[in-house]
Amino acid sequence: MLGLDADRLRADLNRLLAFLFHQGILDEQYLQLQQLQDESSPNFVSEVVNIYFHESEKLLRNLRSLLMDREFSDYDKMGIHLNQFIGSSSSIGAKRVRNVCVAFRAASDQNNRAGCLRALELLEHEYCILKNKLHELFQIEQQRLLAAGVRYPMLN
């Protein structure tokens, strides 16, 4: 029965992934990441994703503080942050987050503060969703590995 867990978990995993793809939260770039994970780099995906989270939160904080500043006018700086965010999100496969960033950047290019604020809200929201889902994904993956690792002694 335990073995079934592994299968069940794998099924859950796949279902979740399918859902995420369908929703546009992730795209095939994520699959590329998964393919890069192998024996030589067994934790590659979670490593990269964790770095991504770390950096993104920094970026979001920066963006937020920039926009909160009343006298904010340095759209170039914001553009730089956004560029990085776009780059990393697309490298991860975080499609929706990336799209919001692109819209954000467009607003920033036009020096549209209100538009930027709205985009920031949306970005934070999307980022939260992504983060939650990816955590879920990792959890299932971990459980699956555990379950798959269980070996039952051969029954005589």
């Binding site: 770039q29 590329q32 890069l36 590659f44 990085q84 776009i86 780059g87 490298s91 991860i92």
Partner: protein, 671 residues
């Protein structure tokens, strides 16, 4: 000495094991890139800082085969890194960015990137990047063989310097500029291959003076906008020259220009404040003392780090000179243009009055004698220095054409300019486009404004911001300048990039062209890089120049492209009166038109007549006339440059560019 690229054992298994350096400030992407590259079986080194990357590359030029770099990085602009790598190490560079804007991509390509990838990077794309390495090698090889090239198809030769074979034909591998001791001036038409370069020699096209001249003529004929490599090639009608050769030559020019422009801009910023007080500088010129000539600072100049010591200085000087194309105000009525000096052409050399004297002391800037005729392009002489540098593989060989003959009238009062300006060292124009006959300091061996060494120095040194700072202090009083720059003296002290300063100072003078030494003082101090303060040793200069002649000629070509123009997008019309226009940090010294118009070059050749406006003692070299290609090859280049940049012309940049190009050469030559 031959520096050869180590033939790696993976020769056979190439591209497996290809050594890639990946640079990206975003850790997510960097890790991903590293993993992807490892998956492709390359040998990957990563860093998140461009500065570290440069350091690594500089430590050992043969350590990497390819560089992949992000465009937006906090410590250094990706394009800048791209340029530097291309210039110094001649490695293929691939740009990476999340932003696929066409303009950016274009920028990347024009700066020399072999490819521009968009994030997210896919493994399929990375699996093919090794082609760039091969292509470059082959290309170089083909390039080198002007005639009868036999490609030695070996993979690692690429930048490897088959330098050892550089020989009298003056082939140089730009990477091996340092080794190119014998860089010889014989510039043959096609830079044919040197037969002796048998082993490991990388065929490269040697852009001889003739070749470059043809190139420039072709470009001129086509017009900047239409000057595409293919057409240029057709017009040039040279055997064994490929479109790629032409394209890379073109590219090299631009690279230099942009680099120069950057430097110049920096310089301008520094001196902008000083500029206003120039009025007295000129006057002070008389009292120039060697100290003013401080060319040495150039060392830091950019890419020419390879130049050591005096050479560097030279380069620096040159560079500064270049930048200052504007700076030089040649006193001669002729448009002594540093060939290359872009439209601004005004090179203000300190008042000529004491040309004779300069030799006496402190390396006053022997203002390069600007040929009397307007069309003389001082720059022409300049290229020579550039040539030496060979910064970029021969690309730099901007053959600066002959300097328009400078009559004595145009002699620049170099002396007053604390020699900084034109410490071309070699009076013979070759250096800074100073044709052998041109740039004659009154009677003395002409002070090639751009001393080859200067050029070299300037070139190399130019980017050295610090040097600029030296100049920033150029006080209006020329005297002060001179004093401050004291270092200039000795011939070897190229005017450090004071070009910036000079330029700034120049403006002042421009307005009061006359006799005001003030300007000059600025200028001189600014050490137009190439200008090596001729320590009154004109003769020496002459010699130097002579040697460098061939080289210079080679390079000068495009040195005088106006880097400013390239950068200046706003290109306002420089035709304003001799004012220093500061554009985007560039100081464009526009010579007042004393009849010479420095037009806004949008794509046209610098229509300025390369006249040398004679202002009391200043020799203002103005960019050559429209359509008239600066004798030598600068003309078109200038036009090119100007076209590129929009009408900002900065002779300085050209100089620098050329210096960049020939910085290597210069050092060698000057040595």
């Amino acid at each position: 000495m031959r520096v050869e690229r180590v033939i790696r054992d993976e020769n056979d298994s190439f591209p497996v094991g290809m050594r890639v350096l990946a640079v990206d400030d975003d850790p997510t992407c960097l890790l991903l890139l590293e993993t992807l590259l490892t998956k492709c079986k390359y040998n990957v080194t990563t860093t998140s800082q461009a500065i570290t990357a440069l350091k690594m590359l500089r430590e050992n030029k043969n350590k990497f085969d390819l560089v992949i770099s992000d465009v937006h990085m906090p410590d250094m602009d990706g394009f800048k890194l791209l340029e530097l790598v291309g210039l110094e190490m001649d490695l293929p560079v691939i740009m990476l960015s999340a932003n696929g804007d066409t303009k950016l991509v274009m920028k990347g390509i024009t700066h020399g990137a072999c490819d521009y990838l968009l994030k997210p990077v896919r493994i399929e794309e990375l699996q093919n990047i090794w082609q760039h390495v091969i292509r470059r090698k082959k290309f170089d090889r083909k390039d080198r063989n002007g005639s009868g090239s036999q490609d030695k198809p070996y993979i690692d030769s690429s930048e490897a310097a088959g330098f050892g074979n550089v020989d009298q034909n003056g082939k140089f591998n730009k990477k091996r500029k340092d080794q190119n001791e014998d860089e010889d001036e014989e510039r043959d038409e096609n830079g044919h291959d040197n037969e002796d370069l048998s082993t490991q020699k990388k065929p490269r096209v040697v852009w001889s003076v003739e070749l470059h001249r043809k190139f420039v003529a072709a470009v001129n004929q086509l017009g900047i906008e239409k000057a595409v490599p293919k057409k240029i090639l057709e017009l040039m009608n040279v055997e064994n020259l490929t479109r790629e050769n032409v394209a890379s030559h073109l590219q090299a020019l631009f690279l230099n220009l942009t680099d120069l422009v950057t430097k110049f801009r920096l310089y301008l910023k520094r001196i902008s404040c000083v500029a206003n007080q120039q009025a007295n500088m000129v006057a002070a010129l008389g009292s120039v003392d060697s100290s003013h000539l401080r060319m040495g600072t150039m060392n830091g100049l950019g890419n020419f780090h390879t130049l050591a010591g005096p050479d560097q200085i030279h380069n620096a000087a040159f560079t500064s000179f270049q930048h200052g194309g504007v700076l030089r105000r040649l006193n001669t009525p002729a448009g002594v243009g540093i060939s290359g000096l872009p439209s601004s052409g005004l090179v203000q050399l300190s008042p000529v009055q004491n040309l004779g004297n300069t030799s006496t002391n402190q390396s006053k800037l022997q203002s390069f004698v600007i040929p009397g005729n307007h069309n003389a392009n001082i720059l022409q002489g300049m290229p020579m220095s550039l040539e030496f540098d060979q910064l970029q593989n021969n690309r730099a060989a901007s053959h600066v054409g002959q300097f328009p003959s400078v009559d004595n009238t145009t002699v620049l009062p170099v002396s007053s300019i604390s020699g900084s300006l034109i410490d071309a060292g070699c009076s013979n124009s070759p250096l800074l486009g100073v044709t052998s006959n041109s740039l004659l300091l009154e009677g003395s061996s002409q002070l090639p404004t751009l001393h080859a060494s200067n050029l070299r120095d300037s070139v190399s040194g130019f980017p050295n911001r610090s040097t600029l700072s030296d100049f920033t202090s150029i006080a209006p009083a020329s005297n002060e300048l001179h004093g401050s720059k004291a270092d200039i003296q000795n011939q070897a002290s190229p005017i450090s990039c004071n070009a910036g300063k000079i330029i700034s100072s120049a403006p002042q003078d421009w307005n009061a062209p006359k006799k005001d030494a003030p300007y000059q003082s600025n200028v001189p101090s600014c050490s137009i890089n190439s200008l090596r303060a001729v320590n009154g040793d004109m003769a020496q200069l002459g010699q130097c120049l002579n040697q460098n002649n061939p080289i210079f000629n080679r390079n000068v070509g495009f040195d005088f492209v106006d880097p400013l123009s390239i950068k200046c997008s706003e290109g306002e019309n420089l035709a304003m009166e001799p004012s220093v226009i500061e554009k985007e940090g560039y100081l464009m010294v526009q010579p007042s038109r004393q009849g010479s118009y420095i037009p806004d070059n949008e794509g046209e050749n610098f229509a300025m007549e390369p006249s040398v406006i004679e202002k009391e003692g200043y020799l203002i070299v103005q960019p050559r006339r429209q359509g008239s290609y600066i004798p030598g090859n600068l003309g078109s280049l200038e036009g090119l440059a100007s076209a590129m940049a929009k009408p900002c012309y900065s002779p300085v940049f050209l100089a620098q560019t050329s210096s960049n190009f020939c910085s290597k050469g210069l050092s060698d030559v000057v040595q």
